[in-house]
Amino acid sequence: MSVLVYTESEKGSFKKTALEVASYAKAIANQLGTTVTAIAINADDVSTLGNYGVDKVLSVKNAQLDKFNANAYAAAIKQAAESESSKVVVVSSSADSKYLAPLLAVGLNAGYASNVVEAPSNTSPFTVKRSAFTNKAFEIAQINTDVKIVGVSNNSFGLVENSGSASAEDFSPSIPELGVTVESVDKATDKVTIADAEIVVSAGRGLKGPENWGMIEELADVLGAATACSKPVSDLGWRPHSEHVGQTGKPVASNLYIAIGISGAIQHLAGINASKVKVVINTDPEAPFFKAADYGVVGDAFQVVPELIEKLKAFKAQQ
């Protein structure tokens, strides 16, 4: 009956979202008066999960699962849920988790609520709050099935430390036919991704051209942030598509979002609204973004950004 949580790892170490979903699973387990079991796939130091409320870890080590495969991962999680008789399965909102969760829902015949932003307000009926209409509203949804899957929105719940310890158990699920084979992966490994970043530095058409992105990358570097851009910037080929954020691009739910030379069109705001604190730097005091921001600087990016970089470097040096 324990709550099952899928804790994602990359090259053996848990991602931050794994610790967040573990914290979330612990909150549900407290509500239900049960324990938390995590399933970890090819992760190294599984005992760290104990610090976030996990009681037991089903540790899968299987070379076939070195590369992510939605079918195989969903099958492994399904078998873990069955062996634990779990009624609630918690996953993150990473691209991989969102890929496997619908397959898992079919496998477990479970209702699935994605983009959930809070612990359930009630466990019977099982009621959660999820973001919908691209962050323009929240939906209160009820999951009616016996087994339930909750997809937690990144950065919505946070990490909750717990002074427990987790026992580890080897778990060897049977792996179905993969169906989809990864041929190659093209990924910048030295950069934080928009999905994992606590801070995102984003720039728009106000930057005039791709040659001006040096200062944006430097600002991101100083802050340990990911870089993003508005849609026209990726459409113009100034920046890669993978940086396009907004309603039709990637969603952003960071702690801090810095928008530079972005007007704040409704479709842009929709995708980034889940970020907690928004800073806007724009020459036009009438730019709609100022209405959506917490802090604003009316000024020329080409002056403000280099100066802000210097100030931040000085600040970091003091820390």
Binding site: S94, L103, V106, K136, F138, V185, H241, Y295, G296, V297
Partner: protein, 248 residues
């Protein structure tokens, strides 16, 4: 190749989102409905397959009669036939079960759906169709090539992309990249006229129960006014972000 494109009928991206009936219903008053943007990229890719490799393209929506103009638009863009499953779409799993039935009955080789709908943002339907029909599944698909029964796709992952190989029958959750913005087609008069002659079949739903139900909606708490910092005093911005917002 038989292609089925799943079309979600969604409020235009500029729509104001409001609710009625004690915040339990989405207020459609004055809202313009469109083909879900992710589905429009998918539909355009399907037209490419039809024109370059030979394929028949059907479009499908699960919804009430009010979605028919959206299906007609897909026909005007070039789809050959449309199907509407005559039941209100109220939860993703039920929608996926209706669509899985259409896929099985029609014997489609390739099902193109969107990565997510821009209204309910479930991101569930394509994967569920794949699970229910036991087809291969590629999500966040930004490129797709089909050769006979084998397929090569590129999928966006956090921080990059991944090239995968797979085979038909296949379901994809597609998005921009399948085609570019500039490839999207605005239906012309001829297309609109031809669309009137094309079949739009209404099929009755199968019996399914709702796995999830929507209880009510809330709007985010309105934001307080922005705190403006002078460009000559960026130390203050750093200090506010550190001491007040506590984000650096």
């Amino acid at each position: 190749m038989k292609i089925l494109v799943c079309i979600s009928h969604v409020p235009d991206t500029t729509s104001k989102i409001n609710f009625t009936d004690g915040d339990t219903k989405f207020d459609t008053n004055g809202v313009q409905f469109v083909i879900n943007p992710n589905d429009e990229f998918g539909l355009t890719r399907a037209m490419w397959f039809k024109e370059k490799q030979g394929a028949t393209v059907s479009v499908v929506n699960v919804g009430g009669a009010e979605t028919e103009p959206t299906l007609r638009k897909a026909l005007a863009i070039g789809a050959d036939a449309a199907i509407r499953v005559n039941t209100p779409a109220t939860d993703a799993f039920s929608v996926a079960k209706q669509l899985a039935k259409v896929v099985k009955d029609g014997g489609y080789d390739l099902v193109i759906a969107g990565r997510e709908s821009i209204d309910y943002n479930g991101g569930m339907v394509p994967g569920m169709i794949a699970g229910l029909t036991e087809a291969n599944f590629v999500n966040n698909c930004i490129n797709l090539e089909v050769d006979g029964t084998s397929a090569k796709a590129i999928r966006e992952i956090d921080g990059g992309k991944e090239t995968v190989s797979t085979s038909l029958p296949l379901v994809i959750g597609g998005q921009k990249g399948l085609v570019e913005e500039s490839d999207l087609r605005i239906p012309n008069m001829r297309g609109i006229m031809m669309a009137r002659q094309k079949p739009l079949t209404v099929v009755e739903p199968i019996d399914v129960s709702a796995e999830t139900t929507s209880v009510s909606f809330e709007k985010p708490i309105p934001k307080g006014a922005v705190t403006l910092v002078s460009p000559d005093n960026l130390d203050e911005l750093v200090s506010l972000l550190h001491n007040e917002a506590k984000v650096i």
